[in-house]
Symmetry: C2
Subunit: 224 residues, 2 copies
């Protein structure tokens, strides 16, 4: 082996460990580059160079950029799912749900800024495969949230469709909020507080509409 000191440490490493190490080096490198570029304009060589590895070594881990992208999505949503499971375990009290949920979201966005930035951007842009994968994950969140919502007052008698509508609205608001936070300058405490405040207000407004909803079943609500 040449001089791979950028990823190697001088500790005796098993082969699996070493391979995994450069694998995450590649993923991290891509994630780092994705702060400034879009995934579609990200080159295989570019990533390899940033990871301190020769281009051909890339193929030992992924056989295309697209596959690396999917791996990134996987990682991102793995941690996100873990967060949500933890949050659900806390079994938030009804009166704090909004404030607590937003706070958890914000904390997580900061803890995984790069992952979030990547997901937020590739969600609507770039390669169809990635876009679809991300959309699928988000839709999954929505449906999970829908079943969770069914345990709240008023909502226990809602139709499945209406619960889905509500869940989608909430998730959309959360996604928008996450995007705004990710894009905010990292120093802007004041700006971030405003974003959070607005998110809380929006969610509260939605919540206020819930008791007024007449669960008219499959019938479309009378808009006209």
């Amino acid at each position: 082996m040449g001089h791979t000191d950028s990823v190697n440490t001088r500790a005796p490493l098993t082969r699996r460990e070493q391979k995994e190490r450069t694998r995450v080096a590649l993923l991290d490198a891509a994630l780092r580059l994705l702060e400034r570029k879009s995934f579609g304009s990200l080159g295989l060589r570019e990533v390899a160079r940033e990871a301190g590895v020769v281009p051909t070594a890339f193929y030992r881990h992924f056989d295309s950029m697209e596959e690396l992208g999917l791996a990134l999505i996987d990682d991102s949503f793995r941690t996100l799912r873990r967060m949500i499971r933890d949050a659900r375990a806390q079994d938030l009290a009804f009166e704090h749900v909004i404030r607590d949920s937003v706070e958890i979201l914000v904390r997580h966005v900061h803890a995984h800024r790069l992952h979030f930035r990547f997901v937020a951007r590739e969600r609507s842009s770039g390669m169809p495969v990635l876009r679809q994968a991300i959309r699928a994950e988000i839709r999954l969140f929505s449906s999970e949230l829908a079943t969770d919502l069914a345990r709240f007052p008023f909502l226990d008698r809602w139709s499945t469709e209406d619960l889905g509508v509500l869940a989608t609205l909430i998730v959309n608001t959360m996604v928008s909020t996450a995007e705004e936070i990710v894009d905010a300058p990292s120093g802007g405490q004041q700006l971030e507080r405003e974003i959070v405040r607005r998110a809380e207000k929006q969610l509260l407004l939605i919540a206020l509409g819930v008791p007024q909803w007449r669960s008219s079943g499959a019938e479309a609500p009378d808009v006209s």
Copy 2:
């Protein structure tokens, strides 16, 4: 002049006309390519080729890709603004606002599919300049909507901040809806009806929350 038949017609053209003609040829070419690629991964040569023009001719119209992107954003929002002004001129009746607004949006998305796709994608991805330009335009819509909203019952006594919160929520929902429609397969009548239906329900839910809102001024609503 060589053989520019791809953009020329055999009618005698004034110089301004001819220049404008290849200019829109370039813009259209870019727009067409943006159906499949992201703007960041879009090359100058690629656009020129698609427009049936030699690469160096590109510089006669834009001196960078970024400038072409800004021109695209300009065009997109020019038509969008015109639509909104027309819609506002109709002075929608209170009982139909939601249904009518959504319908207008859907119609416009179909009429300008490529522009919308471009804007929707570059809104969160790609080059910072474009992202910022798009975000600025959308924020402008929000604030215009906020002043419009002030003429509705209940809302006339809301604080400016709260009106902004509401407007942002509505615009976000509209943007999400537009994105979903743009991404839906062009044949999917059924899917689109569902998207529209969900959008209407979401907006209705928001509207139902409005009368419950206590306009507590600058004070944060009691969430805890």
